[in-house]
Each structure stands twice: as structure tokens, then as C-alpha cells.
Symmetry: D3
Subunit: 248 residues, 6 copies
């Protein structure tokens, strides 16, 4: 099968890493291709960023469908445009937040998000309500680092994640942990080992791995989102600054 990973930003510096990481999680027979946006924001850290990113995410997903991809992964822990994109294509479209949250509820009593900036708290609290599983959220803990600074000091980020994870388990009752940004996913094995050492055996999900397995499973089962929930967008006049799939 062929899976298209959309890097929903214009920043291409991590595109190669993304491609490699998803390829590692995919089965040998799964082909992965990562595409970045042509226009949009450098990173998605706000609802504004998300809103600006969604049109080209949608465009890239429609291209992927036309090119015969079997599923689309939106590689961002905001699931930007997840519901809108589903209306535009018939192949499954999955997001790492939705996939990880549901798996977290299967694996444990409550889960926490270990995220970057304080502003993420309200965002994830809204998202978990929208996804219908808010009763299972223990907390959103933030470490105070912006997305674009993660790679400049990975050790400090790892330390912050470890402290936040420990508080989420000890003080908030989290039994499963989810990173608040996919760029943190590479740190999961390190944090998991550290938690185990300290006798705090929470499960820390690698959100990229989880969403890849969901995508493959849906393709295996020939399942996609319900047409009743995501009715195909009807043809209508759309004016767009550049020629795209949805402009007329």
C-alpha cells in the first residue's frame, strides 16, 4: 500500500527525518511519501497557523488521492484540518492526536498530553471534548518550549518532558502519556525508559507509530470515514488566489 504523509507546514528542514521515521514504522510492503506544503505557516502552534495551513493540506490530500495513495496521514499533533479534509477525499485521512487518544483510552485508565507551550492546554482540552473522550483526559502538561526550538536543545526538552511526565503520573493520575508535538516522538523511547526506571510504568505512546498503524489497518480493512459524517463536498464556485483542485 501507499501512504502519503503530509507535513502541514512550509518548513522542509525536518521533511527527511519525517520520511525516515514513518518509513521505519511502516511495514516493509508499505510505501511512504512525505510532502510539505507549498504555502502555509512555518509551524502549527495556534489556531491561526492551523487555519492558514488547512487549504493546502486539503489540496495535497486531494492530489494524493488522485495519484493512487491509499491513505493520508496529517503529521501534526493538532490534527489540522482532519475533519475538513475527510470531506474532500474518500481514502482514509488520519491524525496522530485522534489515533493516539483513542489508543490511550484502550490501554489505560486516563491519559495526559505532554506538550510544548501553555497555550496548548486549551487547544487539547477542546479537541478531546470534540473527539468525545474528555472524561478520560487526566491533564495537559506543558514544558514551555516552542516547536521551532525543539531541535536546538534536545536534552533540555527531554528533561522537561521527563519532569512533566512524572507530574502527570504522580499528581494527575495519568496512566498513558501522549506527546503534544510529533517532533517530540523521537524522545519517547528515552522518556519511557526513564519512567520505567523510576517505577512509574505509564505507557508513553509514539504518536507517529500509532497513526501509521491505524492508517495501515484501515487500508487492510478497506474502511474509510463515514459518508454520512463527511459527505462529499458538492461542486460550487470557489475563487482561489492560485489555480488549485478546488478553485474554479
Amino acid at each position: 500500500m501507499k501512504i502519503c504523509v503530509i507535513n502541514p507546514v512550509i518548513t522542509r528542514s525536518w521533511e527527511q527525518d519525517t520520511q525516515e521515521e514513518y518509513s521505519k514504522f511502516a511495514r516493509p510492503t508499505t510505501q511512504v511519501r512525505t510532502v510539505s506544503l507549498d504555502w502555509g505557516p512555518a509551524s502549527v502552534e495556534s489556531r491561526r497557523d492551523e487555519a492558514i495551513a488547512v487549504p493546502d493540506i486539503m489540496h495535497k490530500a486531494m492530489q494524493a488521492e488522485r495519484e493512487g495513495f491509499d491513505a493520508v496521514i496529517i503529521d501534526c499533533m493538532a490534527d489540522p484540518g482532519l475533519l475538513a479534509v475527510r470531506e474532500a477525499v474518500r481514502i482514509p485521512v488520519v491524525g496522530p492526536v485522534e489515533a493516539s487518544m483513542h489508543l490511550a483510552v484502550i490501554l489505560g485508565h486516563r491519559f495526559s498530553m505532554i506538550s510544548l507551550m501553555e497555550a496548548d492546554r486549551a487547544f487539547f482540552e477542546d479537541l478531546v471534548v470534540l473527539y468525545g473522550i474528555d472524561r478520560k483526559l487526566a491533564s495537559v502538561r506543558c514544558i514551555g518550549v516552542p516547536v521551532l526550538d525543539i531541535h536546538t536543545n534536545l536534552d533540555a526538552v527531554a528533561k522537561g518532558m521527563m519532569e512533566a511526565s512524572e507530574k502527570a503520573v504522580r499528581e494527575d493520575g495519568a496512566h498513558v502519556l501522549i506527546p503534544g508535538c510529533n517532533l517530540l516522538a523521537c524522545l519517547v523511547p528515552r522518556i519511557q525508559a526513564s519512567l520505567d526506571e523510576r517505577g512509574l510504568p505509564a505507557v508513553f505512546l509514539n504518536s507517529r507509530e500509532v497513526v501509521m498503524k491505524l492508517a495501515e489497518s484501515l487500508v487492510d480493512m478497506r474502511l474509510s470515514h463515514s459518508l454520512l459524517s463527511y459527505p462529499p463536498s458538492e461542486a460550487k464556485e470557489i475563487t482561489w488566489p492560485v489555480k488549485t483542485a478546488f478553485s474554479t
Copy 2:
């Protein structure tokens, strides 16, 4: 005060009506200006349409703020981009769904949405959950007419609304009613009279009037959305097909 009404579509045929209706609801000292989108969809009837409309809604709101407007109304019963736009400006940004739902909860025990297409049901059920007042929703009733067909047969639309309203009251326990599209707002007096005649004294809110009063009240009180909930978007690289306020 000066209030900017954003008609969040490229369809300008109802722009003049919109301008007149909002002017009618505004106080004499309130100046209203209606602006339509330069690029976006002909109508907002899906999450795809909404996603395509939001970037230019945001752009128009930023322009309005720069031009000294005191508040922005997004004139669509999907509140498209409401949360995202609040991050981009400091003047109050209000939507008729949010404004009407909260007023409905103040005025009665439960409310129903009287909307257009069956697909609206899931949309409004998600929105009312996101707004935190889902326990007060009685039902979403739909009449099976697309937005762009409303004006071609207003009598049939009125009849459909009347029947749906009666069912919402009698079968679903609604005590307050909200139109699912602002283009239906002009029919509210007619439906209200008809309900009263039939001994079904539900309150049918005119969503445009309600949101105008909320905008004026916020400006009166010099209040706007919390910076903690809607932190100002930080500067970052944004690539955009045409030159706009948020492209770099």
C-alpha cells in the same frame, strides 16, 4: 462605534441585504460596513467550505482592525474561523451561533436549531459540545434545502421551517429556536407569529439581531476575548499565494 460584518463567502448577491438588515438591528449611532471575501467559496455548507473561507475571513478582520473598526461579526451560522480569527485581532470577534446559543440558554430550558441540510446536524452537535452547552441542546431539525436555493422559493422554506419548529417544540422539548442559517433570519418574525398562533410560544431568535447586540455590548464595555485563551499569534514565516497581512 463601527462594526464590520464579514460576509464569509464570495457571493455578493446578498451583500446589500446583509448590510441593510444589520444596519436595521444596530443602534443609530453604530456604523455598519459589510465586506465579502475576495477568495473563498460561494457558500459555507461544509467543513471544506469553512476551511477554504477562513484565511480570507482572518485577513478581512485584520484589515477591519487596522481601519479602526470596534468589532467584527462573522455573518454565517457556522461561526467559520471564530476561534482562529480571535488570535489575529484584539477587537471583539463574534459569531451568531455562539451568541444565539448562549442567549437561548438564558431564555429557556432547551433550544433547537432549525437548519437546512441533514449534514448540518453533526456539525451543530459538534459545535454545541465545543461551546460547552451541549446539555441544553434539544435537537437539530433540518428542512432539506441548500443555502443557495433559499431565495428561489422562500414560501416553501418558511413552510418547512414552520413544520420543523413545531416538531422541535412538540417532540424534542425545545423552548427556544435558532435558525441554522442567517439567510433564514428574515423569516423569523413570520415563524414566530405562526408559532404563537398555534399555541406554541417558543422564542425564535433572530441570530443576526442577537449577534449585533452582543457586538455592541462588548464595545460598550470595552471587553474582548481573553488573551490567555486567544494568545496573539507570534510572527513567523508564512508563505501565501498572494500578498496578504499574514504572508511574508
Copy 3:
């Protein structure tokens, strides 16, 4: 328009202040008249106090309606008798808790009440459940001062409110704040300034201003509570110690 503010206690010492404050928040064309109870408690700090106050609140509201007032404000952060009084009159009856809580949900992600005595916590937690917006309550924080002592040491009260507000924002995730007593409303500008200085830009609502704007807006729109939710009380035998509107 004419708006009647009911001071729902027998304490008249703050009646003049109340009249002035509401007049300040009203539009120039709005006439405000404040009336106190003839019988009832000195302050409303418990459900017992509330129960003892409601009959004369109802009586005063009925008088106001007969005298041509357009709306009634019950000036107390317990909304005493709000639902019962609505059954007795057809003009809008509004309470500062209900008005402020709904506006708080519009302006931010979660809100906290900054109140007086520890016993207020259960009271507000019940009220927010009844109003259907409990998911949006961050916390109820109390400063340990009884109503009748507020004016004897306003500086200590302000300090207590400031500390409680800071904790509500930092520890409970509040983005909007509401005073737990209308006598605290006069301190709102001071607390707001202090919060802004400390880099905690929560919005602190002035509950009296908010409820006055709601009352004016409802009168503007000729809207009142739904007759289905608040059916007019039918005539029946009522025995009452003194001759009032509802005794027979």
C-alpha cells in the same frame, strides 16, 4: 427604557451606591430605579437567606412590571429567585451570575468565580450545573470575608481577591474571572490592572455592567424568557401574612 434593579435585601446602606453604579453602566437614555426589599434578610449568603428573600423579590418585580418597567435586574451574585420570578412577570428578568457566566464562556476557555466565603463553592458549583455550563468552570476561589464586612476593609478585600485571582489563573487554568458578590464589582478595575501588570491577562468581568448590558439588549430586541420554560403562574389561593400581589 426603564430598568428596575432589585436590591434583594433589607439593607439599604448601599442602595444609593447601587443606583449610581448601575446608572453609570446604563445608556444615557435608560432610566434606572433601585428598590430594596421591605422584608427579607440583611444579606444573601446562604440558601436560607435566599429562600427568605425570594417572595418579596417576586413582589417587587410584579410591581415593577405594573409600573411600566421594561426589565428587572436582581442585583445579587446568587441570582436569588431568578427562575421563580420569571414565572410571575412577562418582562425580562436577568441575574448577574447567569449573564456573567455565559459571557465568560464566550470570551475565554474557562472561568473562575472569585467569591467570599468557603460555603459559596458548593453554591456556585450547583448553579453552574443548573445553568448547563459546568464544563467551563475552572474553579471557585474564596477569600474568607462575609458580605457585610466588605466595606469595612476594602484594601484587604482587594488584596485577597488579587491573590485568589492569581491562583485561579495559574493553578486552575481560568482565563476569565467573575466576582462572587456584586459588592466586589467596584474592585474589578483595580484587580484587572493588577492582573495585567503581572502578565496574567485574564478578563475580569464587572458583573453589574454585564447584566445591565444584557437587560438593555433584551429590551432592544423585545425578547423575554420563553413561556414554555416559565409558564405564567395560574391563579390559585395563596395565604400571605400581609397583603401582596400574590396573596388572595
Copy 4:
């Protein structure tokens, strides 16, 4: 033990029946005394009626405590003043709605209220939310008969209750039923027999019997409401039309 039953209205015509029925449900060693209000409404069918009844209910409960009663039952399926009265006395105060709803949740999956007038629906829906068990309410079904007409045509009332009960079980999924008015409690055996005959083995609770057993159990256990939830009302100036326990 001695239990005081408060008939929370001025209508004394059913006082003797009430006294006999509660005596029948009490243990032989339990003394029951029924007292009616001196001032208040003829019946409690609205929030207005309830508000007018509460002050004298509170007064009667305080008298009962002073006279050595061990518990107070407020004999009305609106639990009028239940929370307020608890602040005024230290002996247990129980209401048939609260008692029956909690027992219903113990005995079955969901319960319905079989009540009188359509306006009761919103009232009970609010009450069950306040009591924290709204997820267990199947429905409120109403038969369209006012309280004061129950005794004039008991057969028609029984027929209406039977039909509403059948619908509550078949259409709403109720497994336990609660009468919406204590005057209906005398019909419970008849409805229960009828349900059993039709193969609809829901449990129909006799709300008077249930609340008497709760009162006796609390006295047995020397338990009463928590002082933290119902702090004793502090002394303060209260002006009241006639000399009562709470006027000064």
C-alpha cells in the same frame, strides 16, 4: 422516633390522608405528625408556588426540631426548599424526589417520572441535574392533569398514568418509575399490578413509602446532612411580615 411530615401548602383537605398514609408506611414505633402551612400556596405546581411556600416550610421545620422531632419529611414531589431547610436545622430533612431518584438508580438501569403537567418536565430535568444523576433519567412523561383535580376523577388519572408508564417503559427505556406528585402515590399498587399484567415488569416506587424509610434509616444511624454542605445559617437581621423563628 418522631417524624414530622410537612404538607407544604395551605390546603388541609388531604392532611388527614397524608397522616394516615405516612403512618401506614412508618414502623409501629415511629410517631408521625403532619403539619400544613399557615401561609403559602394552595398547591405547589410552579417555581413561583415553591418560592412562596419555602419560608413557612422552613419555619415549620425549625418548630419541629425545637419540639424534639427526629427528622422532617417535606411531602411534595418538588422537594420544595429541601436544600434551604437543611441549613436551618440539624435534624435530617428529606424529600421524596431525592429519595426516590437515588433508590431508582439502585434498583434499575434508568427511571422515568410519571407526572402531571407538561411544565413539570423542565422542572424535573433541572432537579435531576442538580442531584447529579441526570444520566440515569429516561424521561419525564406527563398526563395533563393539575394537582387540585386529581381527586375529582381518580379513574381517569389512573388510566393516564398507566398509558404514560407503558410509553416510558416501551419507548424511553425506563426500568423504574416514580410518580411526579405524592397524591399519585396511592395509585402505585394499581399501576404496578397493571404493568405486571402487561408483561412490563418495571418497578413503580411509592415515593411516600421510600422517603419514610429513608427518614427512619437516617434516624437509626444518627446521621444528618453534612455541615460543610449545609452550614448553619448565621444570625443576621431579618425583617418578616409576621413574627417567626427567623425574623428579628
Copy 5:
């Protein structure tokens, strides 16, 4: 009346204490008989333990019904098998958790469980959701002592309970407290006295007393669980290692 108390474990060392304690709480005319399991676990501290205990609990309840008992109490603060056993017999089957939680909601605003091991938290949080009253749970506080160690150091257990109770009241807002294990019930008077002394007048329920009063009340009223919720198990082939009531 005759009430069968099932000690749902094979540990008989506390059987005599159990018998005496329940006899003390029963009315003089109530006969109590305590029976332990023939096969099952030494204690119920996990879902595994519970699962292993339920078949013989069910068997013992069926025996009790055949021998003319009027009600069954499952003496364990996990309510093991409560719902399953109700399908197997027609006499009332009650559990101390369910009984205590509902009474707690009647007596106060929120309640906390004061339990043994940290793993109990998720267990009780699930149970209170299943019972439909999760909105009323303040917290689950644990003291870190396994069931089988309670009696070896009762003073340390009492101290731990006191500290946990104080935190539940002060930090979590609990107004009523429930022991997380029936073996802690004997300490309730001591903890209650200690709380009262410290000015923390929460009500600490004796779960054994509460469930005995519920059992007696149900027998008094000739009420049992609804056949619609707990339909009698139909005859079917069951293979069981030893001959029991439900093997064929």
C-alpha cells in the same frame, strides 16, 4: 426478616467480627447470617480477585434465596458481582459501595473515598461512572496499606485514614467520606470524632451500617431490583468444575 451477609472471600478469620458488626447494625428483629466462600480469593483487591470470587458469591446468594433469606448483602467495598448476582435471584442484593455513594450524595455536596492502595483509584472512578453519579465524586484518596495488613497495625491505619480524610476535605472539597474497605468501617467513629475536633465536620459513613439499613428498608417495602434491568437468567448448559446451583 432474615438477611444473608456474604463474606466474598475464603478468609474466615474476620467472619465472626463481620457477623457481630452487622448484627449490631440490624434491628433486633432482623436475623443476620454471615457466610464465606468455599472457593475464591483470600481478599478482593483487584479485578482478577473479583472475577474469581463472583461465581461462588452467586452460588451463595442462590442458596440464601432458596433457604428463605429476604435479602443479600455482599460485604466488600468493591461490590463484587453486584449486577450479575441480581440476575440470579429475585430477593434484593445490595452492596455497600452503591448504598454508601447514593446516601453520600443525599447528605452532602461531594464525597471522597478513603481507600487502601493506589490501584483502588481507577477502580472506584470506574464504579462511580457506572453508577451514574461521577459528577459527585470529589476524590479517591489512598493510604497505601493492603487489606490483609489492616488488622496488624490498626493505629497506623487510623492515622493514615485521618490524614487522607483531612486532605480530601481541605484540598478536594469532600463533604462526605466513605471508607474504601469494609474492614475500615470499625474505625469510622474514631475518624469522625477526630474530624469534628479539627473543625472539619464532614460526615464519615459507616458503609456496613448504611448497607444494612438499605437492605432492611427494601425488605420493609417488598421492593427488589427491576426485572427489566436484571432479567432472570434463562436456563442454558453450564459446565462447572464442581456441582453447583448453576452447573448442569
Copy 6:
């Protein structure tokens, strides 16, 4: 990988079908082995049946773990013993209800269960609350056929399922459907085709396929349930009628 499917009943007549169906859904490299119970009920249709089945399910899962299986599937749409078994083994244990409900929430707005007997309704309503996704349940529809009669008249069963599915979509707003019994899973393609033909494009999940994909994904990711939620059962004395893994 090796996956053990536990047929949680003593009925072996469908064991071969189960083995074949799961093998069909597994990847070619996945080995499937189906084991039935040695003691337990002929079918699981009640909480009693479930309680009797769980001990041997647990025993079979422990055997599977010792024999090197990588995951356990409990093949029954009651997820019998799911939580308890997780405490007994460290390999992942998955149930088709939990797996299907979470996938349903990912694929559509609301889901319905299409089940067998009316008594299943309360059971699934409890389960979906326990799993934390009750807000996403549209309805439980039942067709009135006992498990053991499914195979005697598969055409009538298919017809009943089709009618119930249509009602779930049209009347209850379901967008995804889940069979209430795994023996119905073989009918899913037929019902799906029929729904598509009638223009009701709900997604009907094959619960067996869904749970197999979840099991394989978990093994791929080397993930299992959290030790904090499912702490390993500690050694303690257990008496059991026959020698098993958990008797001592």
C-alpha cells in the same frame, strides 16, 4: 506473531468457523489459534453468563501467555473479563466491543449497536459509559433473537439486522454501525451492501476484523495495557474447585 482467540463459552460448534474467520482477517504471517472454555456457559447473554465465563477466560489467557502467544482476543461482543484478564497477563488483551467502539468514533459522528435481545441495551449503555465514549453512542437497536438461534435462520436474522440498521441511521442519527454479537459479523458484508443500495452509506464494522487489526498493531508496536491501570495481581491464597493457574 501468534494470536490466541478465546471463544469464551463451552459451545464448540462454531469454533472452527471462528478459527477460519479470524485467520482470514489476520496477516499471512500471523498464526491464529482458537481455544474454547473447559467450563463456563454455553453462551454469553447476561451478566450471570459473563461472571461464570471469566475465571476460565483468565486461565486460558494465562496459558496462552506461557505458551508464547503475543496477544489475546476475547471473541465475544460483551468483552467478558477484559479488564480482569489484563491484570493477569502482560501481553495485550483486546476485546471486539472496545476496539470497534473506538474505531467507530474515529470513522463517524455517532454509532449504534445492532444487537440481539432487548436486555442488551442496558448492558451496552453501561459498557460505553465505562469506556468513556457514551456521548458518541446514537442507540442500541435489538432484533429479538437469542445467540443460540442465530444460525438456525440466518435469513431472518439478516432481515432483522437490516431493518434495525435502517432505523438506527434514519431515526437515531447513527453514521457507523457495530454488530452486538460476533456471530453476526459474517452478515456485515450483506448488510453493508444493502445499506449502500438504499442510499444510507453508514459504515458497518466487522468487529472480528477490527479487533484482529488492533491486536496485530499492538504487537507490531510492542505495546500493551498500562501497568498502572492493570497492576499485576499479587500472589495470594486462592482456593479453586480444580487445579488452575490461579489456585494455590
